[in-house]
């Protein structure tokens, strides 16, 4: 009888322990799930959900005796600053979320970054490339994508090395990070004796860029540089061919093959360069990248966009930081752990650690930069571009 009572008590204790061990941790995603920026935001949200499922399948996040299963709450911020602020307020105030991921686009991200420091939450920024996001010394914010000017400078060097002296720029230049990419590009081009002969702009919703391209054609450039979202960029590449512009086309877009082929033919895309962080491209991907591409494609029936792993990697960085901090409640401890984090084994992007850490003192992570070229229907990694993460990190620390 005594044995039975002991056994019953043991089973009860064990089941209580098992029950206590299985907890749910809500994590939020604020991203552009619809609208023009959904080409970046939706794949990011999908990537977070996929990473969360993988983490859950592997037993969740271990904090002490507890195992936390991740539950993703995603809101559509349409890449709009007001919508993003509302989404994050809902996540924090209504859903009680402490960890918010996603953030593909700089305007919306900047709006949230302006108030996140005063919140009991950690913000993990993905594809948004505006430099100022990580110059504000916000302790509870980190970003997986390097700033645009870090890549722009590398692109300028590459184009100058190709021998181009007169480069025409066509871009979404009223968007801050695209303008900063071009500024950094120009600085390096000028050093090599080249120049930007015109800066033509377009709106993110514009699809007819033939007037600007006609003007560029008359200026007889050696090359053109296109900076902007995938869709307008794809129209520019197509319309440049239609107008008979036969000079090398360089870009900063981070679009997948599938996204470009919705607008332009493979023939119209042939030879186009994309000068960007070394994001996911199947032909150059690491083992993790190949697995990510396969799993994502199977799960969502579409290939992942090259920039989507920024959000996938956020999720694993958060997991490691929570496990390292040993808490899901002490947000400051998790934020601090993120800054001390080594690059997790599961990430897809190929990060360049600064002083052995994934994020530098500004909360900024760096990947290498790469030159990709469209060859026979695919983006092909051609070569690395100059990527001195430590030097850029020091420079970033000097900016107010």
């Amino acid at each position: 009888m005594k044995l039975l009572a002991t056994l019953t008590a043991a089973i009860a204790l064990a089941s209580t322990a098992a029950f206590a061990a299985e907890k749910t941790l809500d994590i939020g995603v604020s991203d552009a799930l619809t609208g023009g920026a959904a080409v970046y935001g939706l794949p990011q949200a999908n990537a977070v959900k996929m990473a969360a499922q993988e983490i859950n399948a592997a037993g969740g996040i271990k904090v002490g005796q507890d195992n936390y299963m991740l539950n993703v709450i995603a809101y559509d911020d349409k890449a709009n600053p007001t919508e993003a602020s509302n989404s994050v307020r809902k996540l924090i105030d209504r859903d009680g979320v402490k960890f918010i991921l996603g953030f593909c686009c700089s305007g919306a991200t900047g709006a949230v970054a302006s108030f996140i420091e005063g919140e009991d939450a950690v913000m993990l920024v993905g594809n948004a490339a505006e430099r100022s996001i990580t110059t504000r010394e916000i302790p509870n914010l980190v970003r997986t994508r390097p700033p645009a000017d870090y890549t722009g400078a590398a692109a300028g060097t590459f184009v100058a090395e190709k021998g181009h002296k007169k480069v025409a720029v066509l871009g979404a230049l009223d968007v801050g990070f695209y303008a900063s990419y071009v500024d950094a590009f120009e600085k390096e081009l000028n050093k090599a004796g080249g120049e930007i002969i015109t800066r033509e702009s377009f709106g993110l919703k514009d699809r007819d860029m033939t007037p600007q391209l006609t003007k560029i054609r008359e200026l007889d450039p050696d090359a053109i540089l296109v900076v902007g979202y995938v869709e307008p960029a794809a129209f520019i590449y197509r319309q440049a061919v239609e107008l008979g512009i036969d000079v090398p086309r360089y870009g900063f877009t981070s679009g997948s093959e599938e996204q470009f082929l919705r607008v332009a033919t493979p023939e119209q895309m042939e030879g186009v360069w994309d000068l960007r962080p070394t994001e996911l491209t199947l032909l150059s991907a690491s083992e993790n990248g190949v697995a990510y591409h396969k799993n994502y494609s199977e799960k969502y029936g579409i290939a992942p966009s090259p920039s989507s792993p920024y959000a996938y990697d956020q999720t694993y960085a958060l997991k490691d930081a929570i496990e390292s901090a040993g808490t899901v409640d002490d947000v400051a401890a998790v934020a601090k752990a993120l800054r001390s984090l080594q690059v997790p084994d599961e990430v897809v992007m190929q990060y360049l650690p600064v002083q052995g850490k994934m994020f530098d003192v500004n909360g900024q992570a760096y990947t290498s930069n790469g030159a990709f070229q469209w060859q026979d229907g695919n983006w092909v990694f051609v070569q690395d571009l100059p990527s001195d993460a430590a030097a850029y990190s020091s420079y970033l620390s000097t900016i107010d």
Partner: protein
């Protein structure tokens, strides 16, 4: 000189689309006095439908366009009978509110049926012609030709057929038209059918030249009304001239001044025209 000619050619293609949108709007407004805001969304529906028929069903482009036009004709009948006819004798504000509601409804249906992603109608028309240094992509050439044919057909229909004469009679004097034996109940149906079919054609052109996505229809209808005001309310020649002027002005402004202000410059040109001719370029004083 070549640059100016090239910009004009660029502007004529987009101007042709504006003309088709404005033709649909001007017939509805001129004859029925309705500001049919849903016209842009209906155009996008036509573009989406064509995309769906080509990509999902694998129909040839021309067959898909024909089906979309027929669907547009039927849709026009339904819009008139179900949305506008019940408020025909009510205050103008009722039709105005119906128009706004219809816009949201059609936008919502487009989103529900076709999703939020941008789509481009595949055409296989990728050749480029060059005449004296001016390049004309094959697709743009076909768009210009198709717009010209539709404008011509519309003009012949309105000017030369009995139904067209009846439409003009109702537009000029509804009471007199009734006395002359015109069936004024069927005229709005015909007008909406034709207007919607023209809108569908414009949607196909936008979808193949550029892209169809949520929100594009709204921008298009704003341009359509601008053309209406520029050309003269209710005037078919005015819609043609106004559409081409707007398209070419946009292209020249983007090419020679700044693409960032192309809409501003185009609308400034419109205001200037109205200061000189308040009735529009082809409107009657």
């Amino acid at each position: 000189m070549i640059e100016i000619l090239q910009q004009i050619i660029n502007g004529v293609a987009i101007g042709g689309v504006y003309v088709l949108i404005a033709l649909g709007l001007t017939t509805v407004f001129g004859i029925l006095g309705i500001a049919h805001f849903a016209h842009g969304s209906v155009s996008m529906f036509g573009g989406y439908l064509t995309f769906f028929l080509v990509v999902t069903w694998g129909l040839p482009l021309f067959a898909a366009i024909l089906i979309a036009i027929v669907v547009g004709l039927v849709l026009g009948v339904l819009i008139e009978l179900l949305a506008y006819r019940p408020v025909r004798h009510a205050s103008h504000i009722n039709a105005f509110i119906v128009a706004l509601g219809l816009t949201m409804m059609v936008e919502g249906l487009n989103l529900e049926f076709f999703g939020h992603e941008q789509v481009v109608i595949p055409t296989d028309l990728s050749r480029v012609f060059e005449i004296g240094g001016v390049t004309i992509p094959e697709l743009r050439l076909y768009v210009i030709i198709a717009a010209a044919v539709l404008i011509g057909a519309m003009t012949i229909f309105v000017e030369k057929t009995k139904t067209g004469q009846a439409i003009r009679a109702v537009a000029q004097n509804r009471d007199a038209a009734i006395l002359m034996g015109v069936n004024v109940n069927t005229i709005p149906i015909v007008v909406f059918s034709i207007s919607t079919a023209l809108g569908v054609c414009a949607g196909v052109m936008v979808g193949s030249l550029f892209a169809i996505a949520p929100g594009i229809g709204e921008g298009l209808v704003v341009k359509g009304f601008a053309v209406l005001i520029l050309g003269g309310l209710g005037s078919i020649p005015g819609a043609v001239v106004g559409g081409l002027v707007l398209g070419i002005t946009e292209a020249l402004a983007a090419g020679f001044i700044s693409s960032a202000y192309k809409d501003v410059i185009a609308f400034l040109a419109m205001i200037l025209v109205l200061l000189v001719r308040p009735q529009g370029l082809m409107g009657k004083a």
